[in-house]
Symmetry: D2
Subunit: 340 residues, 4 copies
Amino acid sequence: MLSFVNDYSETACPEILQRICGLGDSKTNGYGEDPYSESAKEKIRRAIDCPEADIYFLVGGTQTNATVLDAILGKAEGVIAADSGHISIHEAGAVELLGHKVLTLPGKDGKIDAESLETYCTEFLAEPTHDHMVWPGAVYLSQPTELGTLYTKSELQKIRELCLRFDLKLYLDGARLGYALASEGNDLFLPDVARLTDAFYIGGTKQGALMGEAVVFPSGAPKHFFSVMKQHGALLAKGFLLGLQFDTLFTDGLYVKLSKNAVACAKRLRDIFTGKGYRLSPATVSNQSFIVLTDAEAEELSQKAAFSYWGPYDGEGSVYRFVCGVTTKPEDVEKLGGLL
Amino acid sequence: MLSFVNDYSETACPEILQRICGLGDSKTNGYGEDPYSESAKEKIRRAIDCPEADIYFLVGGTQTNATVLDAILGKAEGVIAADSGHISIHEAGAVELLGHKVLTLPGKDGKIDAESLETYCTEFLAEPTHDHMVWPGAVYLSQPTELGTLYTKSELQKIRELCLRFDLKLYLDGARLGYALASEGNDLFLPDVARLTDAFYIGGTKQGALMGEAVVFPSGAPKHFFSVMKQHGALLAKGFLLGLQFDTLFTDGLYVKLSKNAVACAKRLRDIFTGKGYRLSPATVSNQSFIVLTDAEAEELSQKAAFSYWGPYDGEGSVYRFVCGVTTKPEDVEKLGGLL
Amino acid sequence: MLSFVNDYSETACPEILQRICGLGDSKTNGYGEDPYSESAKEKIRRAIDCPEADIYFLVGGTQTNATVLDAILGKAEGVIAADSGHISIHEAGAVELLGHKVLTLPGKDGKIDAESLETYCTEFLAEPTHDHMVWPGAVYLSQPTELGTLYTKSELQKIRELCLRFDLKLYLDGARLGYALASEGNDLFLPDVARLTDAFYIGGTKQGALMGEAVVFPSGAPKHFFSVMKQHGALLAKGFLLGLQFDTLFTDGLYVKLSKNAVACAKRLRDIFTGKGYRLSPATVSNQSFIVLTDAEAEELSQKAAFSYWGPYDGEGSVYRFVCGVTTKPEDVEKLGGLL
Amino acid sequence: MLSFVNDYSETACPEILQRICGLGDSKTNGYGEDPYSESAKEKIRRAIDCPEADIYFLVGGTQTNATVLDAILGKAEGVIAADSGHISIHEAGAVELLGHKVLTLPGKDGKIDAESLETYCTEFLAEPTHDHMVWPGAVYLSQPTELGTLYTKSELQKIRELCLRFDLKLYLDGARLGYALASEGNDLFLPDVARLTDAFYIGGTKQGALMGEAVVFPSGAPKHFFSVMKQHGALLAKGFLLGLQFDTLFTDGLYVKLSKNAVACAKRLRDIFTGKGYRLSPATVSNQSFIVLTDAEAEELSQKAAFSYWGPYDGEGSVYRFVCGVTTKPEDVEKLGGLL
């Protein structure tokens, strides 16, 4: 059956599997203190144009968000996120588990806009009892967002300025960052992200790796960050497996190349749907597509293709999500079109 | 160079790599809800002779210990562990991060003995101010211990009886459980462990897998355990990778077969050392060997073989650790012997 | 200057001060294990008609909410509260500090209604990914609410039924419970609260005591609750001071008598305002009154009386809060009227 | 019956009760933002000779220790304490509840000595795997210690130097600090404590107040400390009650005067015991006395005087604790002597 369920349903791209198998029975230092990790970090530093960056490899997204936010937030501080943000809903309270409140702002197509952020912070400071409230200590963005939309460079710059004005750290969740980089019209590239944030991660799990996320601290890691990872259970014994995978992804532009395929497939998929009169909600440029289907249409299509219910639609039908990943085949997209 | 540094310095056993690569571009459900995981769980249930057991796959040992202990400990409860226990020292306070104190007992060659446990609990209850103290809520054991020693079935039974008497959960850290199972003289097998504990894990990372630990709750998992995993950042998106690896390890007795090789190599290694007059400290039957070397001996040997400094010795020299793993080659052990 | 700023700006009612001073240099056991606490508990058990209740005395409201919620919530569980709930906003994230998310529902004049609670729980269970979300584990209500409104017995019954249906604990914050009990039209009395909740507290701090809140567990306290209090820093060394105060408040109906004065003053205050054409927002029957004033009116009145800005009003002017407490003098209310 | 059970079994010294009652029905701002608190802070700043100090009033000792340590410890950091330290044993894991491990050193008569502290830190840094361990981030001392012994100025200076060398915060628990100040031979006064620590508290609860501890940050409070207090449930609504009490204690040297009485009584009590051939264990100069009694002696004495069992003695008999407080009457000590 055709599958557009998500981008973490396969093993890894062949280049990565090849390199892992190629290690044979060679022995490597544990806990990320190995030459593959070093090499991967160097390549990432070059790709983000930030030679001073501290880089660490963690295993998964929720783990990464919780560990980094716990490390950068101060006492009595929470993190501002869109109400559709992954940490707001789908991480089972991982941020709260470590003692930090997620302060939600209504998102616009999944994005925080600078204006509502400014209002929030201004009103917080103006509120006479704000010392009895959770201090905003950081802003959490995802690029692309959970709804597949993108921040522009100008939008991120405005948010960054507000963060500097209101003494907030800026953290960007890049679980699918490659897809954003490869999207049509995107103008926010890795060096921009490194210049404008305090921390971000480059996702591997949903971008062709078996698992792994590369956390980047452009201006240096928080104190004892290695131990913080260990304390959060986020330090992989065979850390070299993560280094090796990122080393592969950042060799010869593989990371972007893989992402481009996914995004191109997704674009084609949306063109096919809209060409046949279907609506998008929201319109996206990234690897995720949100299509409005009636119950009957969804029911019928689901006989031959896997995709997922996303939520209600303001109008007839519901929203369904179709995801293309690094290994999605263009011919499968055409086959899907043939089913409509 | 010969390496006996640890048992997590290689990728995985060939059988596992083969199966991962064999998945090709087939698509599988995420988060452990896949047929490989189901199959692995069934095989483990058979191996431990406990058809009712709930089983979950996590990524690493520290993560597993912290997640399980947080799930089974009640409010105001801590966990009793040997002072040499992994959670007591080398997990960077992961148990405390979640609010639980590690209550240490002096270990004997890495083991808690029933007598000192009984004394601790009896004195705790007799202490008039014990309501102002951390309640013991669980006991943490590791099999084999961090010093490579083993609990016997009779020892575990005695500890279990005390746990029942004092209302303590019993949790066993099996990061290297396979090596214990394969050790000469071991009389504590998987069905015993399942019968005598509330939770334990069967280690994968140090036993031939890329990564992964199988948590077993013989009498059923704590409420919402899946969500607890997610909240701890311990839920792998591509959970099928863990299921597939354990399915492989528990097919045709591979788990024990691999372990046997390591233990046999370790035994031969110890025989070689003791045959040449070296001392062991402590004496072990598992895959880890602790050898007393003088500084000069260690210095010289380290030119041609990698191993690690372990700690001081009560006498001349220091203790060094030599680890054999699932892929250790018997001929490498002989080569090491040739260097002495 | 006249003051209607809040109900915790004075020491304590004369009866309490008298008894404290009356202790002289007599010596009493610490940590709440004293005859005054025992006597107070007995009187409260009679007042709530629940002879089996476990009762503990804590010092303040935020401390009580955080300690009790931490004790009754399970792992991966959060607490449902109105968005205007004290724990949602003005406790600086005390619930999150212990690892639990506050799940907010839009309140109606400060109250959760059964319908929106049912919808929330139904949708949560229907959501396919709910295992990746925070489980609702308890419901937090305040009586009177932060806006001075009251739950009726029928409303609480409906919420209780939903709690039973959806396996939620029900906790009621009674920081100002006495004022609710004394309010016109109130039909929810202490025995009802005891019958319909899993835990609640009877506020002392804002009800005539120096400090102190009496936590009631009608069906028995959570395991090790005394130690949980100690661990949260919520166990007062001189616990007899709390017991003595509640013993006084629950002697000869003092608790209700004091509350009645406050509520009567508040009613008179509202009558005076509305008699002169001012609006209430929301309309309340409790000891807090929310009056709409223009900036000019507020500015002028604040020269001679202290009260506090509460928030914007949907119309001309803003909302200001006037609080009457156990020691508010009826003549001061008349004087305030004279200033309008 | 004569009572020497503890120093928190009475209400408060008459001067404090008088001032509280003297407030009458005057209305005062809540949460410590009142003139009494301001005045108390000024008087404390003068007493400690540190005009820049930030000062906050909390309610109890465990709460204060947990709140301050949570505020000054960084991520992945624990606090070093003597194994007999209050936070090590008798605070039910309050420090761990907030995620920080208590790292215990064997105390000498309740004190940490500089040498063992230096060894601990040196060995920690020398340990190759220390990044997998909890970082020492602060040192916790109590003055007097839980065993009634005192640090000298020179001892505190040595510990301070080590803290500076190893990047550790220094925190001093002064639950009974007044008794130390008043003790014979003490050479460590408030300005010394302020000069040599990062944070300490001046105890009120056990020193003549109803309740209350004054936390001092000589070089300024941690960021958002007021909100941190609120988040920990450590912010008293009627904070003026705390301010007023400390204002009283720091007027006309009352704090020291009260302490001197207790210490003089304790000295006389010890002289009586030793004069009759009893042994002390340990020997103390503070308000707590530890006397060795046989079971028969203890049994007989307990018919007419209350005191408490402390622990076993290395020899015949057990250790019993006799505490004198601010209101202990010299004639009661003589009466006790008459019973021997």
